[in-house]
């Protein structure tokens, strides 16, 4: 059984305008997303701004309430749990945020920040908590003597490590990494990525790794899902995705990623125009307005998410 099984997750936001708050329509931020996450693996979720990947993360943890679907964690549907049961599950299912500057309370010491999950869920004594915090700090590469300092005394990369230590405090099964390295410098990114990989091997963690940088996602993930306008358009292993991308959007995305090699002459598939507004998504296949291979069927019918073999799934009429 998969550790995490998401089925047909949907989230729409109502759009209101005017004094009387007339309902203008809905923004379908997440429109039927489904995937599984197995133990010990990393599933990458990649897409550009507005594709809904951040909303998916919030919905999984019910930080935002989804409009529909199922989120099965170890067999139980999180969306049907009551508040108290959900609170207990949160010990197993953690998240690391993107912004190291706003994800830590500036008025709490590092020790208090890391100890918060322990205080919420366990009844350990103060001494035990102190020991556990020291252990966690060492695990993520920080000096335990600095536990009494405040977040503003640390650099961005170090703050991100604090956030990781906090997420690890209760030995979770799954960690959602929501753009954990996007706000960091290149050399610090490498440190944090390596840390995440090492922790995974050491603790048997499973990651849902969300990012817009395809290179980073491909590097750290075992399997990758590509999102566009609230839907998953392709899902495959990292190798398959890189060597054999099927969906035209994935192909364009791959060709657009700048390669740090001046010798390579990149043949870029340049997409026309911008991402359509999620308030007014195109009919049929959401990508058809920008697709270089668009055909008549694409504008009329939504494509089915089909399995092409060995787990490689695509939502495209032409594949």
């Amino acid at each position: 059984m998969a550790l995490l099984d998401v089925r047909n997750l949907r989230k729409q936001f109502p759009v209101r305008k005017g004094i009387l708050s007339r309902n203008l329509g809905f923004v379908r931020a997440v429109d039927g997303v489904g995937f599984t996450l197995n133990e010990g693996e990393t599933l990458g979720l990649v897409g550009e701004s507005g594709c809904g990947k951040t909303t998916v993360a919030r919905c999984l943890l019910r930080l935002i309430e989804p409009t529909g679907g199922e989120v099965l964690f170890e067999g139980e549907d999180l969306l049907k749990m009551d508040r108290e049961a959900l609170r207990k599950v949160r010990a197993q299912f953690q998240i690391i945020f993107q912004d190291p500057y706003s994800s830590l309370n500036p008025r709490m010491t590092v020790a208090e920040i890391i100890a918060e999950p322990l205080r919420n869920h366990t009844r350990t004594s103060r001494g035990e908590i102190r020991d556990r915090v020291s252990l966690l700090m060492e695990k993520v590469g920080l000096h335990p003597e600095q536990a009494r300092r405040y977040p503003h005394e640390f650099s961005g990369g170090q703050r991100q490590r604090i956030g990781i230590a906090r997420a690890l405090a209760l030995n979770p099964r799954v960690i959602i990494c929501d753009e954990p390295v996007s706000a960091l410098d290149v050399s610090i990114q490498a440190q944090v990525i390596n840390l995440l990989v090492q922790l995974q091997e050491e603790m048997g963690l499973s990651y849902l790794f969300i990012a817009h940088d395809l290179s980073v996602v491909e590097h750290i993930s075992n399997r990758v899902a590509v999102m566009y306008l609230g839907r998953i358009v392709e899902l495959a292993t990292d190798q398959e995705l890189y060597q054999n991308p099927q969906h035209p959007y994935t192909q364009a995305l791959l060709s657009a990623v700048p390669v740090p090699d001046p010798g390579v002459c990149q043949r870029r598939i340049l997409l026309q125009g911008d991402v359509p507004s999620p308030l007014n998504p195109p009919s049929g296949c959401a990508f058809h307005t920008r697709c270089p291979e668009c055909e008549r069927a694409c504008a009329n019918e939504e494509p089915i998410f089909r399995d092409l073999g060995n787990g490689h799934r695509v939502a495209c009429h032409l594949r």
Binding site: S187, A256, V259, G263, D274
Partner: protein, 326 residues
């Protein structure tokens, strides 16, 4: 100085007087930009690349900033110019585009008004003429229905459109030099590709030179001919782009190149771990003695901690600031 040198920076030093001390953001930087080329400036936050660009255009309030050295633009030292002369250069001969298009565009003026403002000031034409040229520029940066768009406000455009509008504004007076400060960082990858493509075409069409400032080595590889690597306010390496990627000389450059994940790298190298540069960039008030990079350098020698390294020229067109090559 070569004949075709457009911009020549010699020993530029930009310091800020703060309550806690003097911060030297740019520390004796020298570089050249030749006609018709794209020079890449690479570095992480705090390396001084943005301050260098702002120093060229003298956009830093002085005090607290203090600029020393020479910046020769077509033979004239622009640090000596008076404010009026400087104003004639900005937006006209030297232009700049910034990282965040949303905050660099005036939210209460339409795109058309902002672009035509620059044209009117520098080229002294009528309002109608300036507007016509502004719309022409929007056309050149491939904004669809430029006539209609010119009447729109920045918040009505998408990120990619805003960046194009800013490029249009920067190129509206046909500058010889364009300073591009992280022009693609805030954009999605597919839009980034469009902008890179656009910048290259326009550069050829306008015969301009570009100083491309970014931390993204992939964009550098695609656009620049020569590259300068900066660290804590100094130039640590300078080379042709092919040489830099094939054979980086400075340990910092080596570390940078080793630490970026690129598509297919995991498959090619078989390793899940990236190469790391340990530690963090030192605070400007607590710079290490000797070579500023030595505490993080895996190849540091004893002399590295004592004396600052000399700028060595191992090859024609290559420069390194490192004891390993001295």
């Amino acid at each position: 100085m070569r004949q075709d040198s457009l911009l020549s920076i010699r020993d530029l030093r930009t310091q800020f007087h703060t309550y806690e001390g003097i911060v030297t953001a740019v520390d004796r930087v020298s570089l050249d930009v030749y006609r018709g080329e794209t020079l890449g400036v690479v570095g992480e936050s705090g390396c001084g690349k943005t301050v260098t660009a702002l120093s060229i255009l003298r956009l830093l309030p002085s005090p607290p900033a203090e600029i020393q050295g020479e910046i020769l633009f077509e033979g004239t030292n622009i640090l000596d110019l008076d404010p009026d002369e400087m104003r004639r250069i900005r937006g006209n001969a030297i232009s700049m585009i910034f990282q965040e298009p949303m905050t660099s565009l005036n939210p209460v003026l339409t795109i058309g008004e902002q672009i035509s403002e620059a044209i009117r000031i520098h080229q002294g034409v009528t309002r109608q003429e300036a507007w016509r040229r502004a719309v022409e520029m929007l056309q050149m940066v491939q904004i669809p229905s430029p006539n209609a768009r010119a009447h729109e406000y920045p918040h009505q455009l998408s990120g990619g459109m805003r960046q194009r509008a800013m490029i249009a504004m920067a190129l509206s007076c046909h500058p010889q030099l364009l300073l591009a400060d992280e022009p693609t960082t805030a954009l999605d990858v597919t839009i980034q590709a469009q902008i890179v493509d656009l910048m290259q075409r326009l550069k050829d069409e306008f015969e301009a030179s570009i100083v491309l400032i970014t931390h993204n080595l992939g964009v550098i590889a695609g656009m620049a001919k020569r590259v300068v690597v900066m660290y804590t306010g100094k130039v640590v390496e300078q080379a042709q782009v092919k040489d830099l990627f094939r054979e980086p000389l400075h340990p910092y450059t080596q570390g940078l190149l080793g630490s970026i994940p690129w598509m297919g790298r995991k498959l090619a190298t078989g390793r899940r771990l990236l190469q790391e540069i340990p530690g963090i960039v030192p605070s400007p008030l607590e710079m290490p003695d000797g070579c500023r990079f030595h505490p993080r350098c895996s190849r540091a020698m004893e002399i590295c901690g004592k004396e600052e390294p000399p700028l060595v020229q191992p090859d024609d067109g290559r420069k390194v600031l490192c004891w390993l090559w001295a």
